[in-house]
């Protein structure tokens, strides 16, 4: 695909080449952040970006690394353009690489527009607060960590946990009830194995969502610098579909841990002062400029919802990657190895998980009037049960009072019946809430402190109906 303008300037000599960076003599007229061509002696052309320019030198970061660059015959050519993605509605159903080039064997995109991959910040005053409930059909998400349109909600996973299966289940089932609207899926595979990428593609085929999806694939063997561009290309495509075509776009970025590792590697090449664990100090801002592209805009049809997936190194939620992500995103879905070992799917740790946008998306007219009360009471009861479980491992369940034994049993049932469900089971939000009420019927009624009496009378199964 040719989105490079014809206007070209040639430059002087390369003075050093190391890691992914080359330094050249000053290039007149080069713009900060501009995309350049590096023409090697053997005729091969690599692409790069000017990341530090001055009257004396220009530093170019080379996509694909500096292998075979020499200081005599290689030349840098500028084109006066920053990194742009050619877009049109025909990108739906296509597969691109981390540079935005089609890799599905099809023709290049006939561009309707070329968009700057960095995007522009949404004016905070133009945003609409996200409030439309997305039903994923998964109880632990719909009931306790509800997702709304325009939200950015990551999945914090760890190696060996079934995040790919959960995401495909969400993609398969997610809907805003009672609405027939145009929606699209943008998937960016960032430094993942070929298997993971093809798992996802295969699933999209099977559910027939393939023609409503745009895929950007950067596998583990592709150059790390392209890894930095991949999520930006995906978000640019998503914003185009949302704001130009009024579509509701769900963006899946997998795996952002690979992205952050690439960022650290680059930062080290640039000899920057590292912050925590060697990650650059600007990682928060860098991630934020991407995740903040989610949202809804007043007066616009579409929306961009982002679901990044990241694997927590060593299952550590305080590691800089999940930590900085958690500060940017509107909550997180955290997967638990312990639940996984118990054979519970999806193994969602409901204590560590959180959706900050939930309150706006639930309640009468959106999900059901009792949703918030049920949510609060389920947390309270499960948390009591887990606390007692911890105590009972030391003193034995027999030494607990009767009331405490009930809570212990309720916690077990909560995990087996509420959290756990089939990979192809789609629960309506009402079903989810009713499972909650089923659990409440085990507890003494006066313990239901967090539910209003009105709802208790309306929804609590009578004692005869106890399951």
């Amino acid at each position: 695909m040719s989105f490079w303008p014809l206007y070209v300037k040639e430059t002087g000599a390369i003075t050093s080449a190391k890691g992914a960076l080359i330094m050249t003599e000053s290039i007149p007229g080069i713009k900060f952040g501009e995309i350049v061509d590096v023409r090697l002696s053997n005729g091969e052309v690599k692409r790069g970006q000017a990341i530090d320019i001055s009257k004396e030198t220009t530093v170019v970061q080379v996509f694909g690394g500096v292998s075979e660059v020499d200081l005599v015959g290689s030349r840098v050519r500028c084109k006066g353009e920053t990194l742009r993605l050619p877009v049109s509605i025909d990108i739906l159903g296509r597969v691109f690489n981390g540079m935005g080039e089609a890799i599905d064997g099809g023709p290049p995109t006939v561009a309707e527009d070329y968009l700057d991959v960095n995007g522009e910040p949404i004016n905070p005053a133009s945003r609409l607060p996200p409030a439309e409930f997305i039903e994923t059909g998964i109880s632990a998400i719909d009931g306790l960590n509800s997702l709304v349109r325009g939200q950015k909600l990551p999945i914090f996973s760890a190696s060996g946990l079934p995040h790919n299966r959960i995401v495909t289940q969400i993609v398969r089932q997610a809907q805003v009830r009672g609405r027939e609207e145009r929606f699209a899926i943008v998937f960016a595979a960032i430094g993942v194995s070929y298997n993971d990428a093809s798992f996802f593609m295969k699933n999209l085929e099977e559910t027939g969502a393939r023609e409503r999806a745009v895929l950007f694939i950067n596998t583990a063997s592709d150059p790390i610098i392209e890894r930095i561009a991949t999520p930006r290309l995906a978000l640019t495509a998503a914003q185009y579909l949302a704001w130009k075509h009024g579509m509701h776009v769900l963006v899946i970025l997998s795996d952002m841990t690979n992205y952050c590792e690439a960022l650290r590697e680059l930062s080290a090449m640039r000899e920057e002062i590292p912050s925590r664990r060697g990650y650059p100090g600007y990682m928060y801002t860098d991630l934020a400029t991407m995740y903040e592209r989610a949202g809804r805009i007043a007066g616009e049809e579409g929306s961009v919802t982002i679901m990044p997936i990241l694997t927590m190194p060593d299952d550590d939620i305080t590691h800089p990657i999940p930590d900085l992500t958690g500060y940017i995103t509107e909550g997180q879905i955290v997967l638990s190895r312990e639940l996984e070992r118990k054979g519970i799917y999806p193994p969602i740790d409901v204590f560590l998980s959180l959706s900050r946008m939930m309150k706006q998306g639930i309640g009468g007219g959106k999900t059901r009037e009792d949703h918030n009360n049920v949510f609060m009471q389920l947390y309270a009861a499960y948390s009591e049960g887990c606390y007692l479980r911890e105590i009972s491992t030391i003193i034995g369940a027999e030494a607990l009072a009767e009331r405490d034994k009930i809570y212990l049993a309720a916690a077990d049932r909560f995990e087996r019946e509420f959290i756990s469900q089939g990979e192809f089971e789609r629960r309506r939000v009402e079903d989810t809430l009713d499972i909650g009420w089923g659990l409440f019927s085990m507890l003494p009624e006066e313990e239901l402190k967090l539910i209003s009496e009105e709802f208790i009378n309306r929804y609590l199964p009578r004692h005869s109906e106890k399951i």
Partner: protein, 582 residues
Amino acid sequence: MGRIWRISGPLIIAEEMKGAQVYEIVEIGEEGLIGEIIGLEGDRAMIQAHEDTVGLEVGQGVSGMGRILTAELGPGIVGSIYDGLQKPLTVLMESGSFLKRGVKVSRLPRDRKWHFTPQVAAGDRVNGGDIIGTVPETELIEHRVMVPLGMGGVVKEIGEGDYTVEEPVAWVEVDGEVQGLTLMQEWPVRKPRPYKRRLAPSQLLITGMRIMDYMFPLALGGKAAIPGGFGTGKTVALQQLARWAQTHLNIYVGCGERGNEMADVLYSFRQLKDPSTGRLLQEKEVFLANTSNMPVVAREASIFVGITIAEYFRDMGYDILLVADSTSRWAEAMREVGGRLEEMPGEEGFPAYLGSRLSSFYERAGLVECEGSPQRRGSVTIVGAVSPPGADFSEPVTQNTLRIVDALYSLDVSLANRRHFPTISWLSSYSLYVDAVRDWWSNVAPEWEQTRATALKILQEEAGLEEIVRLVGPEALPEKDKLLLLVARMIREDFLMQSAYHEIDTYCLPQRAHSMLATILKFYELAGKLSEEGISVAEIRSSPLVYKISRMKDIPHDEFDDRIKQLWDEMEVGLVSHKGVA
């Protein structure tokens, strides 16, 4: 007029900049991007750009504006939504939903007319800070027009009427020269506005949050920090403060935080009403929104623009609350610029001047006697959020902040996981204003000090007993301790826990907070007697009174006193010896 020599992210080095001064504002390149000189070396100037620098070229022009970064002060500020450089975002919306760089807009509306009523007459002598008249800016804020600081003279002409911010409302003869006074003035944001004298804080800042007002009070003119890991409800706590704090004007600085949350704040403030006046909250708020995807360097400016606006309204004799979410993002902006300047880093890459820069912000809080006449007092209270990486409070921003502030509201992840909100920890928070507000509280509830101490002691003892429970189980404890655990739990769940989303519970007056806690302690006293007489705690726990106490939060404000009195009567009957538990 200089030229760009080097561009490295937000850092620009320009040459041929002789005559420029540090912190001078410059316009860069063809689009005239705003930047600020942060250092000079020979004829070169180091510039931090407040806008994205992609696309700039070496050799493009840089022109000094001959002034340093200022805030524009005058009517039209209240209710506005600004970016970090005080550009009104609602005006920028006219050029699209996305922020373009290099757009120039005026900070205060130039065409709007304000009705000015003079308070001085021709022939009066006026000095800097004197109030010469008023403008009704919103229903809640009367804008008091002051003589710019450092100016003084005799009023030649002044008249009631409708003026824009640029039209003179008065003419003053200063050293034989007649100058016009307008409704608008400018002040450099990095320079604290002067006052006559600093006073010791003595009045409670009513926040409507029980754990703050009652347990760890904040005084008007105080400074506090709220550190907490992600998901600990920091933003909700700050929003609650900005909503309900009983001050004249609240300033909410969203510095490097989420856009959707900012949208939510803006949206909710257009719906919610101030509990004491019944007017829309928007009429007493100023918003500065510099979200995390907006230019990094402008984060620093947003904090200083916010505090300058706060001081300006303080000088009118108002009590101002400034909420900054989050100072950590501001510190990260400093780190980014410092790193590019290749400064010697301090801890974790932060510049060595992190501590002094933080103090230069927090030290601008205080209760003061304002400049000028009539005599008046005003205050600025600062509450800053800190976002420690990995919720580790030993990191530099938290530690440097703790050296400066006098109240700490420490947010606890484990409380958030249990969905106990607000997650302010009663074991690790503190307030040095307890003594300062003692007199204030004694007028509201004379037993405050005693009640507060008792409750904190119960919670402290609970923490000790918890460890034993983990070893031997709750059933093995003596009855006395079981009762203490029950009461501690009631204090936690029925008093400290407060829902930001509950119509009634979201805001709690100090008097009501006192009644609630006193009720729980009364229950403790009566139940203690019962327990001594051999009634088991299990039986006490199942009393309907326990349930009724837990519902105190839901009682509407107008019925509260009656219902609490009724509850006390029921306790006297239901928790009396020899009858068992009713």
